[in-house]
Amino acid sequence: MAKQVIKVEHLEKYYQKDHILHDINFSIDQGEVVALLGPSGSGKSTLIRCLNGLEPYQNGTVTFNGDQVVPTEKNWQKLRQKIGMVFQSYDLFPNLTVLDNILLGPVKVQKQSRETAKAAAEKLLDQVGLREYENVYPRQLSGGQKQRIAIVRALALNPELMLFDEVTASLDPEMVRGVLNIISKLAQDSDMTMIVVTHEMNFAQQIADRVLFLEDGKILEQTKGDQFFKQPQTDRAKEFLESMDF
């Protein structure tokens, strides 16, 4: 049986009085790719932000690699090296070159030597076809290039779990394909465990081993990827899929 990477039990999240996430339960095995789907405002982003401590949760537990997380800032800070995250807004650091953006984590957080980290970073840059940009500043890159660099920056820490939060939502349509291809390749070639929040249904269908379908902060169904797109279990999910043209 595959190793369980992350397990979430009875997770509850409130913003003041608003109940955002209701009794969330799921677990993900190593190498599994899970797509988190659902309408806007259903809590998808909030949920994956709870998984690396960017959002506090009020109840329930997150277990990472068999150890239940004691949710202090200090503990999360350590865990974030193992849980990479890529955001919609890419947010490369504008004051650093592409290479320094990538090396910041490995060198300053993980205390790798600059040479070792640089060699690894250049290998990753080669894989996303951006090696020649290592010495430029982010403002000289297109949105798609920035997002590919942001993925490399997260991977440079050698994470065991990757969280992708609508990473193509703010890209020009022609840039989307390149970024999605990188994520697909990552799923196939390196057996990376991933949670992907996306509105790209074709992409989700192509890579998801399993789909978690969220609405109003509740998991309505958890279904195997191929089955979810052919035959969702709930009417709500069926409706949702019909409303997306793909």
């Binding site: 690396n52 960017l54 800070q77 350590k78 974030r80 090296q81 990479g84 995250m85 955001f87 807004s89 947010d91 490369l92 650091f93 504008p94 004051n95 650093l96 910041l104 984590g105 300053k108 957080v109 993980q110 500043y137 982010p138 403002r139 920035k146 942001a150 920056r153 997260a154 820490l157």
Partner: protein, 220 residues
């Protein structure tokens, strides 16, 4: 005597005042930046007790006129047994005032760094201090440059109030000469030119600097 002769004769005195204005401004600005930065860092790192003290200082400093602060230093302090010479009072007063303005300038810059930048920094495992050092401060300083530049100009102009405690800077020199010779048109003209010589070039340099830092670090 012709106006021109009046002006010529006064120039050596004005030169002294000019140099003193420059020197006091320089010390006051450097001191203000240091005090401001310290207050701002205390606030950023939420240092207990000290950050509250800094906050009280900033409020007092920003909500009392420099004139009153100077009177207090020059006339009230000796009552408690601290006698300071006028120039030292001037510099301390200017730093007391400028420190809070500079603190607010730095705060504005640090607060202006996008929240998503901070989150991204956290997401790659940076500690609070690393986040400040590699992400928030470099970007925050750039953002605070326009406010700091405005404060620098403001503080130089504020030195004209030093005249009330008889520091012989530019304004004091002009007022003294007017008192002695009753030639206000001439002396006021020199006074205006004196400030313009300092402030106009400085203002241009600071504007260029603002453009440069903005270009240098942004466009994410």
């Amino acid at each position: 005597m012709s106006s021109w002769q009046i002006i010529q004769q006064s120039l050596p005195l004005f030169e002294k005042g000019f140099v003193l204005t420059l020197w006091l401004s320089f010390l006051g600005i450097i001191g203000s930046i240091i005090v401001g930065l310290i207050c701002s860092l205390l606030k950023y790192f939420r240092v207990p007790v000290l950050s509250q003290i800094a906050a009280v200082y900033v409020e007092i400093s920003r909500n009392t006129p420099l004139l009153v602060q100077l009177f207090f230093l020059y006339y009230a302090f000796p009552v408690f047994g601290f006698k300071l010479n006028a120039e030292l009072c001037g510099i301390i007063g200017l730093i007391f005032l400028g420190g809070s303005y500079m603190a607010e300038g730095f705060n504005g810059g640090f607060d202006g760094v996008a929240k998503t930048q901070v989150e991204t920094g956290k997401a790659i495992g940076l500690s609070r201090i690393q986040l400040a050092r590699y992400v928030v401060f470099p970007q925050g300083f750039t953002l605070s440059v326009p406010a700091l530049a405005a404060n620098i100009i403001f503080l130089i102009k504020e030195t004209s109030i030093f005249t009330v405690i008889a520091i012989p800077e530019l304004t004091n020199t002009a007022l003294d000469l007017i008192g002695m010779y009753y030639r206000s048109n001439e002396y006021l003209l020199v006074l205006v030119i004196g400030y313009a010589i300092i402030l106009i070039p400085l203002s241009i340099i600071l504007t260029l600097l603002e453009k440069r830092v903005r270009y240098g670090a942004f466009g994410n």
